[in-house]
């Protein structure tokens, strides 16, 4: 673990040069896995996460089926090599809790009544962890659900807000997460329905209000990136389909979007 820096914010700039209300760079690829019904690869700062959706599909064992709706299942999992100290494979208490609140971040938006007796399985793999894996996982899962064609009330967008050097800042990086004074991951819909909210640390009520405001701004930016990625993905596919009727295009291999 790196040393605690003396200051996190100098002249309004953070350790990596960002403003207090600025997100780390986000890169999104939709539809990257062949077997899953929907998938998304997402990089966010140093995080690298992959989400896949399978379903609606039969739910086993049967006694867990619900007669009137689909059961959303969510598994957040860290690759052993995704953190500085190798983690043992398999679920930890931490990953079980994150899986629970992440599932609950989607249950409000998925139209589960459309698919009685089925399961909708969401799998998130953290390949490289760099502060904010649960929000990165939720953003990827949101797009994987869309890619799988699961009907939803809307996308879920997530980001964390925190406090360092006494200031409320958007999207904590690793040092800020390790040594900061508070961490507040939030997920919400474009309609401002909060579907995940956790907090660790120390905030006055006023700071909490400001943090929540900043989270809104952050989620808005994330939402815009998610929307762009979907448009790009599906317009490209549409274009590809049209191009297919033309003679083969020169120079560029087809199906790039799949990888």
């Amino acid at each position: 673990m790196s040393e605690k820096p003396e200051h996190f914010i100098v002249d309004g700039k953070r350790l990596d040069g960002r403003r207090v209300d600025e997100l780390r760079p986000i890169k999104i690829e939709i539809g990257v896995l062949g077997r899953a019904d929907g998938s998304c690869y997402l990089e966010w700062g140093n995080n690298k996460v992959l989400a896949a959706v399978y379903g609606p599909r039969e739910l086993h064992p049967r006694h867990r089926q619900k007669m009137t709706r689909s059961v959303v299942q969510f598994r957040y999992n860290m690759a052993s090599f995704s953190v500085d100290e190798r983690t043992r494979p398999g679920p930890s208490r931490r990953s079980i809790e994150i899986s629970k609140v992440s599932r609950e971040a989607f249950e409000p938006v998925v139209f589960t009544k459309f698919f009685p007796k089925t399961a909708i399985d969401v799998f998130v793999e953290i390949l490289q962890a760099g502060a904010g894996t649960r929000t990165a996982g939720i953003n990827a899962a949101s797009l994987a659900l869309a890619d799988a064609g699961i009907p939803m009330r809307g996308l879920v967008s997530a980001c964390a807000v925190g406090k360092v050097d006494g200031e409320i800042v958007l999207d904590l990086m690793k040092e800020e997460d390790n040594y900061g004074e508070a961490d507040l991951p939030v997920a919400m819909t474009a309609g401002r329905q909060i579907t995940l909210l956790q907090m660790d640390g120390h905030l006055t009520t006023e700071e909490f209000y400001r943090a929540l405001e900043l989270a809104k701004t952050g989620c808005d930016q994330v939402y815009e990136l998610q929307r762009q990625a979907l448009i790009e993905k599906y317009s490209k596919e549409y274009t590809t389909e049209i191009e297919d009727e033309d003679p083969a295009p020169a120079g560029e291999p087809e199906g790039d979007a799949d990888e």
Partner: protein
């Protein structure tokens, strides 16, 4: 299916009550059931508390023993919180390793104590890098009639407040009280039909599964939050829930936990 029908009927009943500003047991929306906290109830524990919240009942035992620190915090004591939802306490509970519900309770309670810095972990170092005090908080649910989490939070801090470092037993001098610096209190607010209620009964908790848990400290600051459950909350609901939790926590702290 018949369960679903029962649930539907109960839901309608509760909803109609709420429209009239009422609850099934006659309480106000922001009213707790009767609280009783008895400490030093288990002689084999280093600290203990029996909490009754209406008919909900649980025991918290604190055990303290020397052990190795975590590699990344060589000069700090270790806090381990565990919750056992034993099948004695409810027909829904099954024997076996803790499931996500028990893990969430343990982790939220743990975070409240940890993040409020209520326990001075630095003072629990014996020999840096070699030996520190390990503090085990074990939450043992005896009867679940709703709102286990708030009871677990009260019981945990009450047990810590009366716990003694068993130094004599290990030839390290006299037993002294645990260094407790703050009294974090978790309060659950459930949302149902647009209303926010404190201290959900079993039925209320089952019907309105979505809640916001807020942990506040003696100075009114927040040291932990968790949205739990399968519905979403609006920002206004979150802000109102935080206020309700803060006020309720102040009352509980003053009446039951301050020495």
């Amino acid at each position: 299916m018949s369960d679903d029908v029962m649930t539907e009927i109960q839901r309608d009943h509760l909803f109609n009550l709420i429209l009239k500003g009422e609850r099934e047991d006659g309480r106000a929306f922001d009213e707790f059931r009767e609280i009783s906290i008895e400490t030093d109830v288990i002689g084999t524990a280093d600290g203990s508390a029996r909490v009754k919240l209406g008919k909900t009942e649980l025991l918290v035992g604190v055990k303290i023993q020397p052990g190795e620190p975590f590699p990344d915090t060589p000069d700090k004591g270790v806090l381990i919180t565990n919750a056992e939802l034993v099948p004695l306490a409810s027909p829904e509970y099954e024997a076996g390793p803790p499931r996500e519900g028990a893990i969430e309770i343990a982790r939220v309670v743990d975070r409240g104590i940890r993040e409020s810095k209520s326990l001075d972990l630095e003072k629990l170092c014996i020999t840096a890098g070699e030996k520190v005090w390990i503090i085990f908080i074990d939450i043992h649910v005896l009867n679940n009639e709703g709102n286990i989490l708030d009871a677990a939070s009260m019981g945990s801090i009450a047990a810590l407040l009366t716990a003694k470092l068993p130094r004599a037993q290990y030839g390290m001098g006299d037993d002294i009280p645990l260094p407790v610096r703050d009294i974090p209190v978790a309060v659950t607010v459930i949302e149902f039909g647009g209303a926010l209620l404190l201290d959900p009964s079993l039925t209320e908790g089952a019907i309105a599964s979505t809640s916001l848990i807020t942990i506040t400290n003696s100075d009114g600051s927040i040291s932990g939050m968790q949205k739990s459950g399968s519905e979403s909350l609006t920002i206004e609901q979150v802000l109102q829930a935080v206020d309700m939790a803060k006020n309720a926590a102040a009352g509980i702290r003053e009446k039951f936990l301050e020495v």
